[in-house]
């Protein structure tokens, strides 16, 4: 057992401070005031402190801590809810992840020291999580923490807890429902707004907690209704339902929610928890589809009919006496949904929810292109008025082109002086595209196998597999879903390991290459260079941490139990990985990123990510920030900035791609590995930005690091533009690099890992 099983708030503070010294918190306040207590509102601008004594930096860090706690609570409570329900439904079960997996729960072992053998072994893990969340939330109360750095340490702690909560949640559902256990050949299923068969009765499931959806699939299967009813999902419930049954279909990610509901295809809407529109009841009423709420965290003011008979509830919903009900028993909810949908489908057949041609024309003609309201209400600033104007003249292309960059929030409609249903107007204009939106996605495969790590661990650490690119998170993209596809494709083609979860996994599946293949059809599903993997839903993110931890455990034979700081230090210095949350929106995304950062993996976010208020940025020119120990003798070594940042935003995918490649450098790369990484970094910069990056030379430790194909050119640039002492004839670098390549270099940030003189 390592030194920190079940760490409390302060137990990993030393590690956090090491990260925070190098990757200093950078704040961009989204709000310059504080309104948390009745002393306020307090104006924190110009160096002023609030009435409680808290300054701007600490307030921003406090806010981020609270956001991370929201996210971490969502995943942990999800795990708690799942465990409670499955213990009741399927009973306690042995955790057997199959022959390819011995390290069944890497985060649980790392953080708590517990090696779970059966589902109920997660109970003390959840108790630990819940206590820590309560302690952390307490620290955000007025009159508690006063240091921004300590709030950052607490945000890291919340992020780490988030990763653990996710692992519990996903392992519980994998074991309880026999979801894929790291299957490289996980089956393909359909995805997209166009993949739902509207001629059938359609149950739409939305959210993240799969238990009620499993009950739907079971009830349908038990009653021979698989072919009569479509189950279509939005968000992670969709991913997880297809992990359980490939008869389900995925409509898409969060951004499609309002548009798909408005399309009226769903005959029943069933929601569980997280990422559901708060006005889902109003939207369901609008299309005359009954709503079933199945989780006590989202009840929408509906009557709780959990204890009523299924027959009674079916009657109430089918008659329309109530627009929806709460059913907190997932099995009953599944039965009711299936029985009701068969009735409502028949009743709703005559309903037309998409605008008619006449209505569409009337609305676009009504628009005065005033630009006064919709464009400033739109989070993307989309030119709605101009598009309406073109549509009024008969050209619907500009309006249809708004469909994908639109995040589907509906803020535009609320401010339109003419009361134009703008979401419906865009939907109507883009109907041909919507109908043809049919992709393919591999169902979430779950964990990376230990056997895959045995094969891939060495090339990852040596750098010859240039990195793991993990595309995770929400759908608040700056310019539509295709950016995620582009990023994944670029890195898969370059033989990086590309893993995806959640909205990103779904959105990347919507596009096909010239041969008609989606990424999941084109690239292999095993964890190796050049793969594209759907790991699963948001909670499956834990397996990406898990893969990095397993590299330390299996390849480097490090003890992982209760040994967080050492393993994070190992990952930071050796595992070239970069998270990408291109459409980060939620508080969960904030806690996910903080958890990934604490374990030593940098994250690139899209431009909306600036609104999280805080980044972690390095300054490559400050020597003291880049000093590490050589564990062999304790000497201090100035390393290149690898990785340079922990959390950084890019504005466009063209900017993000070279940045992601840059963040895969690690100080322990071999020369061969560094060559590969440098090749991609420079190629990608030239491809997307038109120039070589201005900092490539600082990653060169000697001539052996230079890509062979352009060695002479690069040596000349080093000599002529950077003033290095280079023997061009002998192709040798005589002086210039910040350090020389040392094959035995054992980089660490932790004093306790320095080997004492023996």
């Amino acid at each position: 057992m390592g030194p920190t099983p079940m760490p409390g708030i302060a137990d990993l503070r030393n590690w956090d401070y090491k990260l925070l010294k190098r990757y200093k918190p950078f704040y961009a306040p989204y709000c310059e005031m504080c309104c948390f207590c009745t002393f306020g509102k307090c104006d924190l601008t110009g160096g002023k402190k609030g009435a409680c004594g808290l300054g701007m930096a600490a307030q921003q860090a406090r806010f981020v801590t609270i956001a991370c706690l929201m996210g971490c609570s969502a995943h942990t409570a999800h795990g708690r809810h799942l465990l409670r329900k499955v213990l009741k439904i399927v009973g306690d079960r042995e955790i057997n992840m199959g022959t390819g997996i011995n390290i069944e729960a890497p985060l649980t072992r790392l953080i708590t020291g517990i090696k779970p053998e059966k589902l109920s072994d997660f109970i003390p893990v959840l108790e630990y999580l819940e206590e820590q969340i309560a302690q952390l939330l307490d620290s955000t109360h007025t009159g508690q923490e006063g240091s921004n750095l300590d709030y950052e340490s607490k945000a890291y702690h919340a992020g780490m807890l988030d990763s653990l909560g996710k692992e519990v949640a996903d392992l519980v559902q994998i074991v309880a429902f026999d979801l894929p256990k790291g299957d490289p050949d996980a089956p393909l299923v359909e995805i997209g707004m166009g993949c739902v068969d509207e001629s059938k009765a359609v149950i739409l499931v939305i959210g993240h907690n799969v238990v009620p959806s499993v009950a739907v699939m079971d009830y349908m299967s038990d009653h021979g209704l698989d072919e009569q009813i479509e189950v279509a999902g939005i968000c992670c419930t969709a991913i997880d339902t297809t992990r359980y049954s490939q008869k389900a279909k995925i409509v898409g990610s969060i951004g499609r929610q309002l548009r798909f509901v408005r399309s009226g295809v769903a005959d029943v809407i069933m929601v569980d928890e997280q990422c559901i529109r708060a006005d889902i009841l109003e939207q369901a009423k609008r299309i005359h589809a009954p709503l079933i709420a199945t989780n006590d965290k989202a009840l929408y003011g509906l009557v709780d009919r959990t204890n009523d008979s299924a027959d009674d509830i079916v009657t109430i919903l089918a008659s329309g006496k109530e627009p929806g009900v709460v059913i907190l028993d997932p099995v009953k909810a599944g039965e009711v949904a299936v029985r009701v949908v068969q009735i409502t489908h028949e009743k709703r057949k005559e309903l037309v929810n998409i605008l008619t041609d006449e209505e569409f024309k009337e609305y676009v003609t009504m628009c005065q292109n005033c630009d006064a309201n919709c464009i400033v209400a739109c989070p993307q600033g989309l030119p709605i008025g101009e598009a309406n104007k073109a549509a009024a003249k008969g050209d619907t292309t500009p309006l249809a082109s708004l469909f994908d960059p639109c995040v589907g929030c509906g803020r535009c409609e609320q401010v339109c002086k003419k009361h134009i249903p703008i979401v419906d107007v865009i939907l109507k204009a883009s109907l041909p595209y919507v109908k043809s939106e049919k992709g393919m996605i591999r169902v979430g495969r779950g964990p990376v196998l230990d056997t895959e790590i045995r094969k891939g661990g060495a090339p990852l650490v040596l750098g010859t597999i240039p990195g793991i690119i993990a595309l995770v998170g929400c759908g608040n993209y700056p310019n539509g879903t295709k950016d995620v596809y582009r990023i994944a494709k670029e890195f898969a083609e370059r033989k990086y390991i590309v893993v995806l979860t959640g909205c990103s996994a779904m959105d990347a599946a919507l596009y096909r290459d010239k041969d008609g293949k989606t990424l999941y059809e084109k690239y292999p599903g095993d964890f190796a260079g050049g793969c594209v993997l759907n790991i699963g839903s948001c909670v499956s993110n834990a397996h990406i941490h898990g893969a990095a931890i397993k590299v330390a455990a299996i390849y480097a034979r490090r003890n992982i139990r209760g040994n967080y700081a050492e393993i994070a230090d190992y990952i930071l210095n050796r595992v070239g990985a970069c998270g990408v949350s291109w459409g980060a929106m939620s508080q969960k995304a904030a806690s996910i990123a903080s958890g990934v950062n604490r374990i030593g993996i940098p994250v690139v976010i899209g431009p909306h990510g600036w609104k999280y208020r805080r980044a972690y940025l390095g300054r490559k020119y400050v020597d003291e920030d880049w000093m590490v120990y050589d564990a062999r003798d304790g000497s201090k070594v100035r390393i290149e900035p690898a990785p340079e940042h922990m959390l950084v935003a890019a504005d466009t995918y063209q900017e993000a791609i070279p940045l992601i490649a840059r963040l895969c450098f690690r100080p322990t790369d071999t020369s061969m590995g560094r060559q590969v990484k440098l090749t991609h970094y420079m190629d990608l910069s030239m491809k997307y930005l038109g120039v070589y990056p201005d900092d490539w030379h600082i990653f060169v430790r000697g001539e052996a690091d230079l890509p062979l194909a352009r060695k002479e050119e690069y040596l000349r640039i080093l000599k002529e533009e950077h003033g290095w002492d280079v023997d061009l004839e002998a192709k040798n670098i005589l002086s210039g690099p910040v350090r020389k390549m040392d094959v035995g270099f054992d980089a660490t940030n932790l004093e306790e890992l320095i080997k004492k003189n023996e």
């Binding site: 200093k24 950078f26 704040y27 961009a28 306040p29 989204y30 709000c31 310059e32 005031m33 104006d43 924190l44 601008t45 160096g47 701007m56 930096a57 292109n369 630009d371 464009i375 400033v376 209400a377 989070p379 600033g381 030119p383 008025g385 101009e386 700056p478 431009p607 909306h608 600036w610 609104k611 980044a615 940025l617 300054r619 020119y621 400050v622 940042h645 950084v648 935003a649 890019a650 504005d651 466009t652 063209q654 900017e655 940045l659 997307y688 930005l689 038109g690 120039v691 990056p693 201005d694």
Partner: protein, 174 residues
């Protein structure tokens, strides 16, 4: 009173003063160490030509997002520097950063052609934390940016010609 381009983007008690293009141009001209920060939107509507015109007046340009490609394609890279917006803000806030030409920091930062919301956050970061020495920010964009010290007003895309004329007046006064 002008509204922010993203209407909910009201961060605090002090918001940018709307300024005429002549005043914005003069602010750049009178600065000791001005910097123009451009983003990907300069690649639309030929705004890059306006950025180049400002560059030719001797104002260094920080090319964020993938705007650098536009300068390369037009053969103008003399005083154009590739950077990320986050990295740039982080450097500007650091009192010991010596600028792109390694001779010193900047006292006026003007923004043009960046994504509205990330630019807004860039400005608010500098407003609150680029204080020693103080760095003043102005917007010469088509958006009203409340987090700047001085800003142009919102100019709709349907009035792009007007926006370009506004930029010409800024440039004339540099």
């Amino acid at each position: 009173m002008e509204i922010p381009f993203d209407i909910g983007n009201i961060s605090g008690p002090e918001n940018a003063r709307i300024a005429r293009p002549e005043a914005l141009g003069r602010a750049i001209k009178n600065a000791k160490r001005p910097l123009l920060v451009v983003g990907s939107e300069i690649l639309d509507d030929c705004l890059i030509e306006k950025a180049i015109a400002i560059g030719k007046k001797g104002i260094p340009i920080a090319a964020t997002a993938h705007s650098m490609k536009g300068f390369v394609d037009r053969g103008y890279t003399e005083n154009v520097y590739l950077t990320g917006l986050h990295e740039l803000a982080n450097n500007i806030e650091s009192g010991d950063w010596m600028g792109f030409d390694k001779t010193g920091g900047y006292d006026i930062v003007a923004v043009l052609g960046g994504i509205y919301y990330s630019t807004s956050q860039f400005l608010i970061a500098l407003k609150n934390f680029a204080t020693d020495p103080i760095v003043r920010c102005i917007s010469i964009d088509r958006y009203y940016h409340p987090a700047a010290r001085m800003s142009s007003g919102n100019i709709s895309r349907k009035h792009t010609d007007e926006f370009k004329k506004m930029l010409d007046r800024v440039i004339e006064n540099i």
